[in-house]
Structures are given as C-alpha cells and as structure tokens.
C-alpha cells in the first residue's frame, strides 16, 4: 500500500486509523523525524497523533552520551529527545542523516516485531505461519508455514495408520518450537537483534519447512544427498534430538526436535537444519553456517561467504538492517562505552553481543568478512582512526566506515 507521506514527516493526523502505510509504525517507534524541521517538540507531535504510538526515536546520533538502551525507558526520554536534538541537529549531522534514519528504521522494525509477536501470541491466531516484520521483507526464520489443511491431512493420515500419538507429539513439538521462537522475538531489542540476523540469514533454508510429514516429504530429510551433511550437523548441535521412532513419523518428529533447540541459544543452528534441505544451494550455506556453533557468528559470515545462495530473500531485513541501511545496531560493545553509537556497524553488533561465543568463530568469520564488515587499518584516515581509538565519538567526526578488526575489543 501507499506510504503515508504525512507519517514520513511525522505528522499524520490519523495515526493508527490511517489508511496508508506507516512503515514500521504498528506500535513501533513512530515516524522518522522530518529531516531538518524539527521544531515540534515531541509532546506536540504526540498530541497530533493521539492514537499512534511512541514517537520516540527522534534523532539518535546526538545521544552518544546516553547510556540507556533503546528498548528500555523511552517515555521520559522522549521529551528530552525531541527538544534537545531538535533543530540544531539537522544541518550539522547531515552526513549522518541516512545512518540515523537507518537506525530508526531498525528500531522501528524491532519494535514492530515485538508488537506483532505479542499480538500473534495473544490473539489465538494460527501459529504455523511465516512471518515478515515488514511486508517487503522475507519471512523471519524460525517460523514454518503450515496451512491448516496440511496439518489436518497429517492428522488423518496418522489416524488411519493408528499412529496418532506420534502426530500429537509432533504437533506438540511444533508448538513448543513456535513458542520458543516467539519468546525469543519478544525480547528482541538492539542488543540481541543479532539473534534475528542469522535467522534471517537462514530464512532461505526454510524452503522446505517442517513438513517432514509422511512419505512424500521424505525428501526433506534423507532423500536429497546434500542434506546428509547438514543432517549430521544438526544432530550434533541438537542433543535433544530424538532418533527416529519409525518411518515417516520420525521424519516429522525430528524436525521439531531440532527446531526446539533454539531455546538453547544457538538459534540458528537449530532452525536451519530443520529447514535447510531440498535446495542444493542452501546446504552450502547451511553447512557453512554450521561450522561455527555460534549463532550470530555466522550471520555475517553467511552473508559474505555465500552471498549468491543467500542473496535472496532472507537477507531482506538483515541486509537492510545490517548492511544496506548502513545502520547501526547500537549497544553492541562498540568502541567506547556508548551503547548507542549510531555507527556501530554490523560488525560490531555481530561480534559484540554477549550471546556470541567469541573466540573461534569470530576469527573465522573475520577473515571471511573482512572486507564487508571491517575496514583495514590502512584504509582509514588518521582522523577516523583516532575516532575509533578514542573513548567516544566526537560529533562531526564520526567515521562512516566500519572500524578495523584490530580495534575491536570483545
């Protein structure tokens, strides 16, 4: 649908009721601020849009010194945001305009995801559905698309083969897997956004989702030769994996077990195996990503190492967030202590997050992704180097390139 022009300027009168699309604004962070004319204070803006939600992220780069995370207390911060970062900002920070808006996009995206997920959980909506945070983006990994008819057919098949219990178990596993994923997404914010990334990365692996039902879907698991290697990986990483009980039910049964592992934190490794089959090019990515047990570690690795195979959809949000938008997922242990540097580039995010085992995978990935995520030291100007080395970025001198590998302290 059409994007609401007023919303983009931060002054849509209809808010939630508006017929047009408010990008990422479904309960998420509100409009991107008008580029230079930020004379309206935040409260004023809120007044205009009685029914729309938080108009938080007014301007970010100014908040270098602010240590409160995005996801958290935004209420009291709003006024100060609006007014303090107001007009003085636009001109001076022109060079960073795209970066800040990208940051906001991402923030909105995350908030949108959280809200959607909460609604999804509470509304009794059909669980087994693919989900995309924004319509233009590919589905978030970790969700399988199963239509009610497919599930029902499974029920009938199992019923006739007198194997209802395994159907019930499988369904239960699917549900658990879904719930885990939902819980993961509910707590998503900038600091653990990385969990989304590799999952988005592996979205493509979901081409053959959990329907390892019956014989026709056997290809999911054993029939395609390439899947074997992936299978092995998946077995390793999911200790909870229950070996097949019998024929077809086992095929199905295995998937959720794998899928259920995400709760253990290695989100990607769990979800991908379940879905990575059937498409030859995927296995390369999948197997690649499996090399590093770290969830996020191969998010980026996956991107650069297997760009063609993964170049498709799954990147969608990840790319936009991590790379395309040149944005920032702040709060990742970026240089210095600021959690919000608008410029903590994807590299920082991915590697700085606590959920990542750092040692081995990092080094692996770094070499692979050097060019994309980090700038070799010699490509940085002196000034940029200084900026990276200093405790805080100085306004007006914030480098536009990612920091060099050497300067990252994890």
């Amino acid at each position: 649908m059409t994007v609401c022009q007023f919303f983009l300027q931060g002054r849509c009168r209809f808010g939630d009721r508006c017929w047009n699309e408010h990008p990422g604004a479904r309960g998420a962070g509100g409009a991107r601020p008008p580029p230079a004319s930020q004379q309206l204070s935040a409260s004023n803006r809120r007044g205009w849009n009685a029914s729309s939600q938080r108009y938080s992220n007014v301007i970010q780069p100014s908040s270098f010194s602010r240590s409160t995370p995005w996801g958290g207390s935004r209420g009291p911060d709003q006024a100060s945001f609006g007014s303090s970062t107001g007009s003085g900002f636009g001109a001076a920070q022109r060079p960073f305009a795209s970066l800040s808006s990208g940051d906001q996009d991402e923030q909105k995206l995350l908030e949108g995801i959280v809200k959607d997920v909460e609604v999804w959980e509470s509304s009794g909506q059909w669980m087994f559905s693919a989900y995309s945070p924004l319509k233009t983006q590919p589905p978030v990994a970790g969700f399988t698309d199963i239509s009610p008819e497919e599930l029902r057919l499974e029920y009938h098949n199992f019923l006739t083969s007198n194997n209802l219990q395994s159907y019930l178990n499988s369904v239960q596993q699917l549900i658990t897997q879904w719930k885990n994923r939902i819980n993961q997404l509910k707590t998503i914010n900038k600091s653990n956004r990385v969990a989304l990334l590799p999952n988005l990365n592996n979205g493509v692996n979901q081409a053959a989702p959990a329907l390892g039902f019956g014989s026709t879907q056997a290809r999911m698991f054993g029939s395609s030769g390439s899947s074997k290697s992936v299978q092995n990986f998946s077995f390793k990483t999911s200790p909870g994996f229950a070996p097949a009980t019998s024929g077809s039910p086992s095929v199905f049964g295995t998937l959720p077990a794998l899928g259920a592992v995400p709760s253990a934190g290695s989100a990607v490794s769990a979800s991908t195996p379940a879905f990575g089959f059937g498409k030859p090019q995927i296995t390369s990515a999948a197997s690649f990503s499996f090399k590093t047990p770290a969830a996020s570690g191969f998010g980026s690795a996956g991107f650069s190492a297997a760009p063609t195979s993964l170049a498709g959809s799954p990147f969608g949000a990840a790319m936009a967030l991590a790379f395309g938008g040149g944005t920032s997922v702040a709060g990742f242990g970026s240089p210095g202590s600021q959690s919000h540097t608008a410029f903590s580039k994807p590299s920082n995010n991915i590697f700085g997050s606590s959920s990542i085992p750092t040692s081995l995978p990092v080094s692996n990935v770094i070499s692979a992704t050097d060019k994309v995520l980090f700038t070799p030291k010699d490509q940085l100007t002196q000034e940029e180097l200084e900026q990276f080395q200093s405790k805080k970025f100085t306004l007006g001198k914030i480098p536009l390139k990612p920091p060099p590998v050497e300067l990252i302290h994890i």
Partner: protein
C-alpha cells in the same frame, strides 16, 4: 431467479433440518439461511456453483470425507442431492467447466478427476507428487485446460485427454490458493509468495508480487474492473487481514490497501483481539463487492471501492470454511464446518457440517451504487 422462500418452506426436508426451527440456544444458523440437505459428513473444503451456461443452479462441495456432492438448488430454495463421487483422499478444490457439463475435483490423494455429470463417471486427469490444493478450468481463445496447484510446488496444466501435463510451472513454495479469471491467474503460495500469470496463448508468469500481509496466505480472489477485465486481486491471510492489490493500473501501488477483518475485540482488555483467519473470499459476479468468510464463524460483505463494510453476520458456532456465489450473484453459499484453525483438539467428528444458502441479490449492492 426468484427469491428464496423463508426457512419455513424448507422445514419438511430430511432429517438434517430437524432442529432447524427451534434455534433457541443453537447458533449453528444464526442468520436463518437455507440449509442444504444431506450436507457432507466432514468439513467442507470447497464450494462451487455451476456456470451460467447451465440452466438452474447446481452446487458442488468437496469435503474431508473424501466425497464430492452435487445438489440442484431450485428456485424455491429446495436443494436436491443429485450425485456424488468419491476420491481416495479429502477433496480440497472443485471447479466447473465452462459449459457446465463437467466438474473437476482436486484431492489429497494427489489426483484431480473430471466428473461427467451426465454419465456420473469420473476419470482421473491429473497427477501430482503431493496433494492438489486448487483446480481451475481455463478457457482461452486457443486452448482449454485444467490448472492444478499442488503442495509439491508445481502448477500444472492438463488437457483432459492426456495423462501428461501440457505445461508445468515451478512455484517457489507449496500452492495454497489460486484464482483464475481469464486472462489472469493468481497463485498464492506458502511463505507469502504471490505470483501472477497471464493465460493468453499459453500460461506464463507475469510477475511475483510482494505480499502486503505479514502472515500466511490463505485465500485469493481476482476482481474485475468496470469493463469486466481482471485488474487485481484480493488476498486473505490467517491474520484476519485482507489486502487488495491492483495490477495493470497506473497507480497500482497507491491504490493497493489492506484492511483488518474477522477479528473480535475482547471484552476485558481493549486493544487485544482475537484474530481469525480469512478462510474464503468471493466477489459478487454482478456488483463486484466482496464476501469473506472466516474462522470466527462470520461472513462479511465489503465494498472495496467505497472501502466500506456492507454487512457482518452473526457468528456461527463453527468456523466458516468456504463460500461461493452462483453465476448471477443471487445466491451466496457458505459452509459451516471446522477448518482446523485450532488444531485437532477442537475437532469433533460428530459435529454436523452445514452449507447455507443466502439470498445475495440485495445485500451486496455497493454502497454508492457505483
């Protein structure tokens, strides 16, 4: 076609109408619509009315009891069961040929059959590797064929005389729903895939559309413009939302919109809702207004040009799983049966499944009388 009689005329038919009159605490038919006799024994997956080329109205319904039944719907509202044929698996799609002599049925037994109503013989005309979800008859200027969409991710086109498809197109994912209004066809797949095809000369893919909805596709229906040419489609998802996509229109991005439906606000907490899937949609053949049915057990009528809701029904006690208009838009048929939206726990095999017929000539007139 004369108006349907009131329910009282119908009261004498068959046992299925037993408790019909006393609908006291029973919400199986709150709208007091006409109930079809001998309705299938299990959930109804699809409904289809006969085309205009056949005099009278014949309704076919495919069900999860593996059968396809055909009724004649008479002018006074009586429905007379005429015939049925059985598949080896639940029937997910039905479609009439353009001359009204054959019915094509698609089933989970991975086959589609052509049922000749005159001779009551059914022969297999299509084979897939996985259950076939949709079947449509295509009548082009230079060819005629049956299009089947399946969970094996292919879209195949069959000349009914040959056992090999005349064409097979690859889909990105399993086919969940499709619609054909010559020369346009739309297929919605798993993982929010949407593909538009043009059918002139031979079917070919025109483009992939980015779905405006965030969740799984559930049903799709093509609408026509003033000149009776297909110019877009409506897409329903499991999330109680419908998106209208205009195609071939200068401002297609601007004109496309989504709206929420089949949701219910909970009494206690404002803002939280129960969200239901949109199970089926159909455009009124004359007025171009849209009818949707959902898991909440309601049907709604919408005017897409006026962006207005024309009517919401009372909730039935079961989800409504399918709907369909007859060829002149006088009859709206909807099926009340469990759609598995809440899993197996809520499945009661003993529950009766109904198909209701409603007079649709008046209620679907557009708001502005466009």
């Amino acid at each position: 076609m004369s108006l349907f009689g009131t329910t009282s005329k119908f009261g004498s038919n068959g046992s299925s109408v037993g408790t019909f009159g006393s609908a006291a605490a029973d919400h199986h038919n709150p709208m007091k619509d006409i109930e079809v006799t001998s309705s299938p024994d299990d959930s109804i997956g699809c409904l289809s009315f006969s085309p205009a080329s056949l005099p009278g109205n014949f309704l076919v319904a495919g069900s999860w009891a593996n059968d396809v039944r055909c009724w004649e719907v008479q002018d006074n509202g009586q429905t007379v069961p005429k015939a049925q044929h059985i598949h080896a698996g639940p029937v997910l799609g039905v479609c009439w040929s353009d001359d009204g002599s054959k019915v094509f049925t698609a089933s989970c037994d991975k086959t589609a059959k052509m049922w000749d109503l005159n001779s009551n013989l059914a022969i297999q005309i299509a084979q897939h590797d996985a259950p076939i979800k949709t079947v449509h008859w295509i009548k082009a200027s230079n060819y005629r064929c049956v299009m089947t969409g399946s969970w094996d991710r292919t879209l195949k086109f069959w000349d009914t005389r040959s056992s090999n498809p005349v064409m097979a197109l690859q889909l990105p994912e399993r086919c969940y729903c499709a619609d054909v209004v010559y020369p346009m066809a739309v297929v919605a797949t798993a993982r929010r895939g949407l593909i538009v095809y043009q059918l002139e000369n031979q079917p070919s893919e025109v483009r992939r559309v980015e779905s405006s909805l965030k969740f799984q596709n559930r049903c799709v229906a093509i609408f026509k413009d003033k000149h009776n040419k297909p110019n877009g489609f409506a897409l329903g998802s499991i999330e109680g939302k419908i998106a209208f996509h205009y195609l071939n229109v200068p401002n297609s991005v601007k004109d496309s919109f989504t709206f929420k439906c089949h949701r219910s606000n909970r009494a206690n907490s404002s803002g939280s809702q129960d969200i239901y899937a949109v199970n089926g949609m159909a455009f009124h053949p004359i007025h171009g207004t849209l009818a949707t049915v959902g898991s909440d057990g309601r049907f709604n009528f919408w005017d897409k040009d006026g962006r207005a809701k024309l009517k919401t029904s009372e909730p039935l006690d079961q989800p409504i799983s399918a709907c369909c208009f007859n060829h002149n838009g006088n009859i709206f048929a909807y099926a009340s049966s469990y759609d598995w939206s809440k899993g197996h726990e809520f499945y009661n095999p003993k529950r009766k499944n109904y198909i209701f017929l409603r007079n649709a000539a008046e209620e679907l007139k557009p708001r502005n009388g466009k």
